[in-house]
Amino acid sequence: MNVQFIWGLGGVGKTHIVLSEACRIEGRPLVITLDPSQRLFPLCGLEPQGSAVVRLNERDLHLKTTSTDHLFNELAQKSPAQPKVRILYDQMVKNLQEFRDYLSLVELADEMARANFDCILVDTPPLQESKRLDRSLEHLQTFFGTSLVQFAMKGSSMGFVKSAIQRLIKMSRLFVGEQAASAIFEFIEWLTQHADRFHNAATTLKSMMHSAQTSHILVTSPEGDIPVVVDFFDALKTSQKRIVINRSVKHFPQLEGESIFAREMKRLQSLESELVESLHAYDSRISIEQVPLCVMGDDTKDELESFIRLAGFTNK
């Protein structure tokens, strides 16, 4: 089973490209979105939901996003949670993006472990925000791998450990009030019973990201910032990296004249050749695919299916 991560800055057309890739891949794909905006669903004409199957250009695609309810129930089955804990969990899921990030990473790891599909395509949050995802991954690993969790784990009866926790609770009260402080610690205690699960998820994902079996696709536009693109590739240790330049103007003929339109297009064309040149100079092995600019913007399913056909994503 192989895994493909699709990355891109906001607004480059990442969601369209993810779905296009899913249509062209061989075997059964699962598209899992880590993007909190879950744009995948409305683009396919669906309401945002936990999971769904959509038929696009005669392919059946499985789409999935974080199902926090499901995850809680799973966790609660293993160790039951007090009502206070459930309330806090729901609050955190509702209000706190970082917590949802953690959960979606766990779900991703679960899917990889289940291996029910031939390929998993991961639709990531916009690049500007995926640093956050990286941080969440680090935190998952650190938190569940070290100090605090091990201290809080039931069965630890060491005096200095207990008193450290007592200090933290006392201090927290100063910031969040008494009831909140005790609810939070109950919640952490409950969560730490699942420490292994979270820790394993983080470790699995980290190694998956850099493995030779995983491919990474960066979607950009002709205006893509060259340093950002280069930094992106530097950070990934795997050799399977590809760039998709969406809204490419490469195949259009040269424009004459000095009208606003001509100037805009010429500017885009020169930016695009600069981008391609820089990429070749950086690493001649990077494969670059240029998807032609076309008039879009209604973001309907019909428009998506046309795009997939026109962009040549079918039957490659």
Binding site: Q97, S147, R173, F175, G177, V295, D298
Partner: protein, 241 residues
């Protein structure tokens, strides 16, 4: 002195629009939350305004220093590593610390924030309401109550929503508008549609391959705009608001 938030879907041009707005309205101070305002200004050859970048690590450091200075607590944070660990996981804290800093800066002058995109912007504001519902007391709760009252006064904050003339972006602008109308109704929301394209004039000859882009794109954009109330439009490549 007010806080101006510039927000919208990822990729609509918040950073650029922030610079244009500041230029037009002479905003003395801009705040960068890792969007690189300075780089955008340099790229365009514009004068660089006064920009403060709020870095996550600095905000946490300041918070820890303030905490350490609280009598008795300083001595307690012997296992500093533990405290750090714990802090890094307090998901709401970062947002509250940003708001705290913005509030402080706005005491002296108008501040424009090149704010995060839709979801994270909402999370930024929601950190106040989340703190109010999760925390029964304590400093963070006090701060949240104060910010909640602060945003009751339209003089204190203004929201600028940026969109492209494309469905997804317009839809997020609507989502943001609805959110603010529902939870922060006193704050004014200004809507800007960015990167609008005009059709070429009749005198131009446009090769066949370009015709659809040249004429159909502006036509559809104009059509979409008739459905959406807005306050400003910015044409593609414009250098002023």
């Amino acid at each position: 002195m007010s806080i101006i938030f510039v927000t919208g879907k990822g990729g609509v041009g918040k950073t650029r629009t922030s610079l244009l707005w500041a230029q037009r309205y002479d905003t003395p101070l801009l705040v960068d939350l890792s969007t690189n305002l300075v780089h955008e200004a340099e790229k365009n050859g514009w004068t660089i305004p006064q920009v403060i970048e709020l870095k996550r690590s600095r905000l946490y450091e300041t918070f820890i220093k303030d905490t350490l200075s609280i009598p008795l607590l300083g001595a307690w944070i012997s296992s500093r590593h533990l405290f750090h660990n714990f802090l890094e996981l307090a998901p709401n804290l970062y947002e509250l610390l940003i708001l705290k800093e913005l509030h402080r800066l706005a005491q002296k002058q108008d501040v424009l924030v090149d704010a995060p995109s839709t979801g994270h912007m909402i999370a930024l504001m929601e950190s106040i309401r989340a703190a109010q519902s999760l925390f029964d007391g304590g400093r963070l709760r006090q701060f949240a109550d104060m910010m909640s009252a602060y945003f009751e006064n339209p003089k204190n904050a203004h929201v600028v929503l940026v969109s492209l003339p494309e469905h997804s972006a317009l839809s997020e602008m609507q989502e943001l508008d609805n959110y603010f109308k529902m939870h922060w109704p006193r704050l004014k929301c200004t809507k800007i549609i960015n990167r609008l394209h005009k059709p070429p004039s009749d005198t131009e000859t446009i090769p066949t391959e370009w015709r659809e882009l040249a004429f159909e794109r502006p036509r559809r954009e104009a059509q979409r705009l008739t459905q959406v109330a807005h306050d400003y439009t910015i044409e593609e490549g414009a250098t002023a608001l």
